[in-house]
Structure formats: C-alpha cells, structure tokens
Amino acid sequence: MEITEAAVVAQVLAGDREAFRLLVNRHTRSIYNVAYRMTGNQQDAEEIVQETFLRAYRSLERFELRSSFSTWLYRIAVNRCLDFLKAKKMNDRYQISENPGTEEDDRAIQLPVTDPGPDRLLLSAEVKEKIARAMGLLTPAERVAFTMRHMEGKSIEEISKTLRIRTSAAKNSVFRAVQKLRQQLEPLVIG
C-alpha cells in the first residue's frame, strides 16, 4: 500500500528526517520542469529545486495536512522562481548598462518566414530563441504569471493565490505579458 504524503509529512514532523527523502524523490522532476519553464536555464532550475525543498523542509510545520503537498510545494517553487528572476533582473540591468545597444541590435533581426506551418509561426530554433528572448523582456511577475497561465494551464485564481496578489493584478500581469510578446513576436507571424 502506498503511503500518503500527509503521513510522510507527519513522520518528518515527528523527527524522521529520512522520510523527507521520499517526497524529494517523488517531486523533484515536476519542480525542475516548473523552474526550467520559468527561468529557461538548467543550472538556475537546479538551484531553485534545491532551494524549494530546503524551504519546504524548514517550513513543514506550516503545511496543512489536509491540503495537497504537491500544490504547496508548487507554490513555494513558483515564489522561489519569482525571487530568483527579480534578483537576476537587477543583475542583468546592471550588466546591460555596461553594453548599451547590444540587445537592440539583436531585436532588430527579422527572420525570413518561408514555412507556413499549422500555427503559421515558424518554430525553428531561431524563433524559439526569439520567444525566449521576448520572455526575457517581461518583468518577473509577468513572466511567472504568463508561464503559469499559458504553459501550466493554471487558473487566474490559482495564480493570485500562489503569488498572493489580487485576481485583477494576476489578470493584468498576464495581459501585460501577452501585450509585450505581441510586440516582439507578431512580425514573425505569417499574415
């Protein structure tokens, strides 16, 4: 019989640290996927996974045994991603100011669109890179909200609960993200 996650958490809270290993083994991969989607970088995703589990272990007393452990862990991971992106944005802003013009030059490249695929968007490696670059222009909150809504299929309510913001703010973050992505990516769409 498979042991429930609530029972495992109770075991850990009772002092059995080894029991936490089961939760690590069960959820590492899904948290890694989320972190990778948010950051687009393997090393960053790995770091976020480690921090997520460390934080989960330290604040395990706050987990309500009735609720879903995976949802609770997912929320921790998303907030870790948000903090990470905010810190990175600050760092990047500092670095960009040292190399002015580079980003603008890259953005000016227009890709030749020749293959009318089903989505009318050429998903070549270059376009994927364009999408990644456009995602990089979003604010951390916009990026996280958009990833949750568009790629993870989370509802606006779930986004607002996870990020502890109002539903109107969650909607606004998704809208702003799409608006910015349109500006960057619409020239790639075959008309």
Partner: protein, 148 residues
C-alpha cells in the same frame, strides 16, 4: 460602435474576461475585433510550453544531501513540544525570582571604618611606587642570590 479593448481580447483568449458572452456577441458583429482576436489566438498558439530537458543525473540525490546537510534535525528539538519549552522557561524564571526574593541576605555587613575619598590618580601613584620599590628590592637581592 465601441470596440473591444486589447485587454478584453487577450483575456478572452484564455476565457478570463469576465464578460465572455458580451465579447462573443460583439465579435459576431464586429469583424475588426474578430480579426484582432484571431491574431492574438494564432500568436498564443505559436508559443509552445517550454519542454524542460532531462534533469541532471542524481538531482534527487543532490537535493536530498543538501536538505540533510543544511536543514536542522527535528529529532534534536522535537522530543519536547514547543509549549513545554515555554513552560520550562516560565518555571525557571519563577524559581529565579523566588530565590532572589527569599534568599537570606547578609544585612549587617559592616562598613569599613574609614571610607576616605581617594582620587584615582593617587591610587595609581601609590601602586607605581610599590611596584618600583619591589623591583629595586629584587634588583638588590639578585647578586646575593647568584652567589649563593
């Protein structure tokens, strides 16, 4: 005719615009808004969910080792509940207070007969004087000590 806002169109693509039925109704009549809506739909359909590559080997093991090394062992502190620790601290505080309150005090400590006010500078001079006298006495005794 009042057109839909960009926000309404974008949110409607996800089904998150509050007035979905009204938006649909408007788009039945307004080809401009319908066209705009289709454009956004196509664009969003072209942004795929990012596929994460295979996680690094032994990631679970790495995560577990970090948790084990950096997180506290709950057994060390969890054998007694938190409220019990609070109770222990309260009892200790009360005991310290009562001990201070009822411990017999040595009330008739006699003061020294003369508590003359001596300036610190004077104390220093006396101390230095004593010290130099001791040194000179030692110095004088040194040759005799060597001879013996």
């Amino acid at each position: 005719m009042k057109h839909l806002t960009e926000e309404q169109i974008v949110l409607h693509c996800y089904g998150d615009a509050g007035d979905g039925a009204a938006i649909e109704e408007h788009m039945q009549e307004c080809s401009q808004c319908r066209e705009e809506f289709d454009k956004v739909k196509v664009l969003l359909a072209g942004i795929p969910a990012v596929e994460a590559p295979e996680p690094p080997a032994y990631l679970e093991q790495k995560v577990w080792l970090r948790v084990r090394d950096q997180a506290p062992d709950r057994r060390a502190v969890s054998w007694m509940p938190k409220w019990a620790w609070g109770a222990v601290m309260a009892v200790l505080l009360a005991a310290a207070f009562l001990a201070g309150r009822f411990w017999p005090r040595n009330v008739d400590v006699q003061k020294p007969p003369h508590t003359a006010q001596v300036s610190p500078g004077r104390v220093l001079l006396v101390a230095v004087g004593d010290c130099s006298m001791n040194w000179s006495a030692c110095w004088q005794r040194l040759p005799t000590a060597r001879q013996s």
